[in-house]
């Protein structure tokens, strides 16, 4: 095992240990349990989005299409009699497959062209999903309530998924793949002239993004026990990921984690009263943050951590 892998394994175990210690607090009541589930979900989604959005610089507004595939895969397999946790690998694979199918052509586009194409794909997916009667059509699917995994297992599952997504993100950042992605983000032609297969690198990372996003959809179905196309394939969901990562710090490993937390906090405690316009309010906040701190919260937090270390370390 390389020293990096060992360090990451320790950090991962440390994070899980910390989350285990926090569990009694967060599992105190159904509301706090739900908050923890949503936080894990957001971390997973934002880290996944950042792999292609941050490292490769390809801004997707269509990740809901992958989330929905994961959510439906798990729901339909669960209703067909499989244990929900066992459906998760299938959800990841199907979402990755769907991601590669539409990512392969769309990733030939760059910048705003890619972003617009992702909106088209995701909206088309949502409309089609509304009309698939075998999957419940527009009224969606209700999952077997009596088979609810319970708060403890859901907490553990969410914690593992969230921590794993951050470790995947750190591993990609350090890998040959990650180096190629940053190179092509900075200058695709110069990267190609240095031997980087731009199309292949992007599709590879998008498959990872899609698999993790599919897992997120699967987890969502397992803890909400009810899915509808308008929600799991919804544009709101896609936008919220972009906002989380931009607020937290795009292209960094910890930025999506911070952004996921900040987003949840604002959504639950500050913007809840604004109900339907909370995305608009969040958008306004985003503009404010981008004007003041275009790189998001992560660099500031890193600076703060260094300061603390110098003073006390």
């Amino acid at each position: 095992m390389s020293s990096f892998a060992r360090r990451q394994a320790l950090l991962g175990l440390g994070a899980l240990g910390g989350l285990a210690l926090l569990a009694p607090l967060l599992l105190a009541n159904p509301y706090s349990s739900r908050l923890a589930q949503l936080l894990f979900l957001n971390v997973l989604l934002a880290s996944a989005w950042n792999l292609v959005g941050g490292f490769a610089g390809q801004i997707s507004f269509g990740n809901a299409s992958l989330f929905g595939v994961g959510a439906y895969a798990t729901s339909m397999l669960w209703l067909a009699g499989f244990h929900p946790v066992l459906t998760m690998p299938a959800a990841a694979v199907l979402a990755a497959l769907y991601g590669v199918i539409w990512g392969w052509p769309c990733l030939r586009l760059r910048g705003p062209y890619f972003a617009i194409a992702t909106i088209g794909v995701a909206e088309a997916t949502r409309i089609v999903a509304n009309h698939i009667e075998a999957a419940g059509g527009a009224s969606g699917l209700t999952l077997p309530l009596e088979q609810d995994l319970g708060p403890v297992l859901l907490y553990a599952l969410g914690a593992v998924l969230a921590v794993a997504s951050v470790l995947v993100s750190a591993a990609v950042r350090r890998s040959r793949l990650g180096l190629g992605l940053i190179a092509l983000r900075e200058d695709a032609q110069a990267a190609a002239a240095s031997g980087v297969n731009v199309a292949r690198q992007q599709v590879t990372v998008f498959a990872i993004t899609a698999a993790l996003t599919g897992l997120a959809g699967s987890y969502y179905a397992v803890f909400t026990l009810y899915i509808v196309p308008e929600k799991v394939f919804g544009f709101d969901l896609s936008i919220s990921l972009v906002l989380m990562v931009l607020v937290g710090g795009i292209g960094t490993v910890m930025g999506p984690v911070l952004g996921a937390g900040i987003y949840l906090f604002l959504e639950q405690f500050v913007l809840a009263s604004l109900a339907d316009i909370h995305l608009a309010a969040f958008g306004a906040l985003l503009i404010f943050i981008i004007l003041l701190e275009p790189r998001g919260a992560a660099p500031r937090v890193a600076q703060f951590v260094r300061l603390i270390r110098r003073r006390f370390g």
Partner: protein
């Protein structure tokens, strides 16, 4: 004007044409780089030198004609394939990966370029950083580099792909005389390592100093090929340079 029969061509362009709308930037061009050679490529601004590099390196496909790298047709291959077959380039205006450090940038070339058994990517990158005198800046973020350093970084990144052929586009432009001498020294070392070079340059001291042969373009076509001495005395070459600057 061809080389000795025993020497093989590293790069051969045959009847290459490239048009941009109504403008023919490269017009039925034949060009050869022989093994072991430094070929100077000169010509007035807009002669088509950079366009030719873009064609050879796969950034554009030619409208017609063939390009051969060590005898193999490459004119329809994408850039990264051509790089992995052993042709690397620098850019007239350096194109650094601004978010990376010097050593990470060079590692991009080493990890994605031509695979050669026996040396690791990081060893290759270290060698190229040393060769281009970037060692003191190896951990520096690329955005902090000055022009001379960025030019050497482009060179290091290209060399890290372990090319058989290196295309160098105006690496001495904008440098002071000391930096020009240093750059020429680096190119000599590259050549000594067995890499063929096509060298586009306006700084005549540099290109005439190290080129074995010089190929002169004007309006996308060949106007002269010969030794540095021959082309500098060639009336067509003098006309192309003087005519242009006296005329407009």
């Amino acid at each position: 004007m061809s080389g000795p029969a025993a020497v093989s061509a590293l790069v051969e362009a045959r009847g290459v044409v490239k048009r941009f709308g109504g403008l023919t930037a490269v017009h039925r061009l034949d060009l050869t780089l022989w093994d072991g050679e430094i070929l100077g490529l000169i010509g007035p601004n807009g002669a088509g030198k950079t366009t030719l590099f873009n064609l050879l390196s796969g950034q554009f496909a030619p409208d017609s004609g063939e390009i051969l790298l060590e005898g193999r047709e490459i004119q329809r291959l994408p850039s990264h394939r051509i790089c992995r077959l052993g042709l690397a380039r620098t850019f007239q205006v350096p194109r650094p990966f601004l978010a990376l450090t010097v050593s990470e940038s060079v590692l991009v070339g080493a990890q994605f370029g031509r695979r050669v058994a026996g040396t690791s990517a990081s060893e290759t990158a270290d060698g190229c950083i040393a060769l281009t005198r970037l060692e003191p800046r190896r951990s520096a973020p690329v955005h902090s580099l000055n022009l001379a350093e960025r030019k050497r970084l482009d060179l290091a990144r290209a060399l890290a792909t372990r090319p058989r052929v290196l295309l160098v586009d105006e690496v001495a432009a904008g440098l002071n005389p000391t930096e020009v001498r240093e750059t020429v020294g680096i190119l000599r070392e590259v050549h000594a390592a067995g890499i063929g070079i096509i060298y586009v340059e306006h700084v005549m001291e540099a290109v005439m100093d190290i080129s074995h042969r010089v190929h002169v373009l004007d309006h996308g076509a060949t106007i002269a090929i010969g030794t540095p001495d021959e082309v500098t005395r060639d009336p067509a070459v003098i006309e192309a340079y003087l005519g242009r600057s006296a005329g407009s």
